[in-house]
C-alpha cells in the first residue's frame, strides 16, 4: 500500500516467506495486517475527522485519536499525583 505504517515478515510451514504491510489504527493503536487485494472495508476505514486510517473496531466509534487518549490519561495521572492521591 502507499505509505504503509509498518512491515511484517514471517514464513509458512514450508519456509516460504510471507510479507505484508501494516498500519496502526490512529484511534486505538492496534496494528492491522493488510492482506493483499482484500476488500478495503475489511481493513477498517479512514476517519473523516482526523483523516487517518482506523481499524474495523473503530469505524463506528467517535473520533478520539490515541494521542488524545494518552494526553487525557497522563493529565489525570499528573493531577492525582500532585494531590498526593496516587
Amino acid at each position: 500500500m502507499r505509505n504503509p505504517g509498518g512491515y511484517a515478515k514471517s514464513f509458512d510451514e514450508r519456509g516460504i516467506g510471507l510479507e505484508c504491510d501494516t498500519f496502526t489504527c490512529f484511534h486505538c493503536n492496534t496494528v492491522v495486517h493488510i492482506k493483499p487485494k482484500c476488500h478495503p472495508d475489511d481493513l477498517g476505514g479512514v476517519c473523516r475527522l482526523c483523516m487517518k486510517m482506523i481499524c474495523k473496531d473503530c469505524v463506528d466509534l467517535p473520533c478520539l485519536p490515541f494521542e488524545k487518549k494518552l494526553e487525557i490519561m497522563e493529565a489525570k495521572d499528573r493531577a492525582l499525583r500532585s494531590y498526593g492521591i496516587l
Binding site: N3, P4, G5, G6, Y7, A8, K9, S10, F11, D12, E13, G15, T22, F23, T24, C28, N29, T30, V31, H33, D57, F66, L70, M73, E74, K76, D77, L80, R81, L86
Partner: protein, 185 residues
C-alpha cells in the same frame, strides 16, 4: 531519542516454558525509577514517567522444530508495583541502548516473568498486536515512524502503564524467544 533493544535471552534468567495460557516474555512500563533507570557510568536517574514507543518486534521459538500453532500477543497491561520474575534486567548491569553512548532507559522492564497472574499483570483493553504463526516460523514487525505501539507516561495506579509480549500454544511446551526495540520520549 535513544533506541533500546531487549530480548528474553536466558542471560536474564531461565526462559519460561510455553503453556496454554499467555506467559509474559518481556514487559515494559513507565516508571520513575525502573530497573534500567540508572546508568552506572553517567549516574543519570530518571525521575519522571516517560512514554515509550515500541517500533520493532521479533519473535520465534528455540525448541525442537515442529508444526504447532503459536499465538503471540502484545497486551496492554498494568504492571503492578510488586512483580515476580525469573530474571531481572538490572542484574546484568548492561546498558540496553542500541548506541552505547546513550543513557539507559527509564522504563521498568522485566524479562522472562513467571506467569501472567493478576498479581503480576492486569490486562487492560484490547491488545494492540496479535498474530498466530507456525512454531517453525519466526515473525518480525517493524513500524514506520508515527505508527509505533505506545505506552503512556502514567503510574501503575492509573492503569495501562505498560506493554507485555506474551505467547501461548496448546501443543508447544518448550521455550520461545522475543526481542523488542523501543524508544522513549
Amino acid at each position: 531519542m535513544a533506541n533500546y533493544g531487549v530480548t528474553n535471552s536466558s542471560q536474564f534468567g531461565a526462559q519460561a516454558a510455553t503453556g496454554s495460557t499467555y506467559s509474559a516474555l518481556i514487559a515494559v512500563a513507565a516508571s520513575t525509577a525502573g530497573a534500567g533507570g540508572y546508568n552506572a557510568g553517567s549516574g543519570v536517574t530518571y525521575s519522571a514517567f516517560r512514554r515509550g514507543k515500541l517500533y520493532d518486534l521479533l519473535v520465534g521459538t528455540n525448541g525442537t522444530p515442529n508444526d504447532n500453532a503459536m499465538e503471540w500477543i502484545i497486551h496492554r497491561v498494568t504492571v503492578g508495583a510488586t512483580l515476580a520474575w525469573v530474571g531481572s534486567v538490572s542484574s546484568v548491569s548492561s546498558n540496553f541502548a542500541l548506541d552505547q553512548a546513550d543513557v539507559n532507559f527509564g522504563a521498568f522492564c522485566t524479562v522472562n516473568a513467571s506467569g501472567n497472574s493478576s498479581t503480576v499483570f492486569t490486562l487492560v483493553q484490547q491488545p494492540p498486536w496479535y498474530v498466530g504463526v507456525n512454531q517453525r516460523a519466526s515473525y518480525r514487525w517493524v513500524a514506520a515512524p508515527g505508527s509505533e505501539i505506545v505506552w503512556p507516561a502514567v503510574s501503575s495506579a492509573t492503569g495501562g502503564n505498560g506493554l507485555a509480549l506474551g505467547v501461548r500454544s496448546a501443543a508447544y511446551t518448550l521455550t520461545a524467544t522475543g526481542t523488542i526495540m523501543f524508544t522513549e520520549q
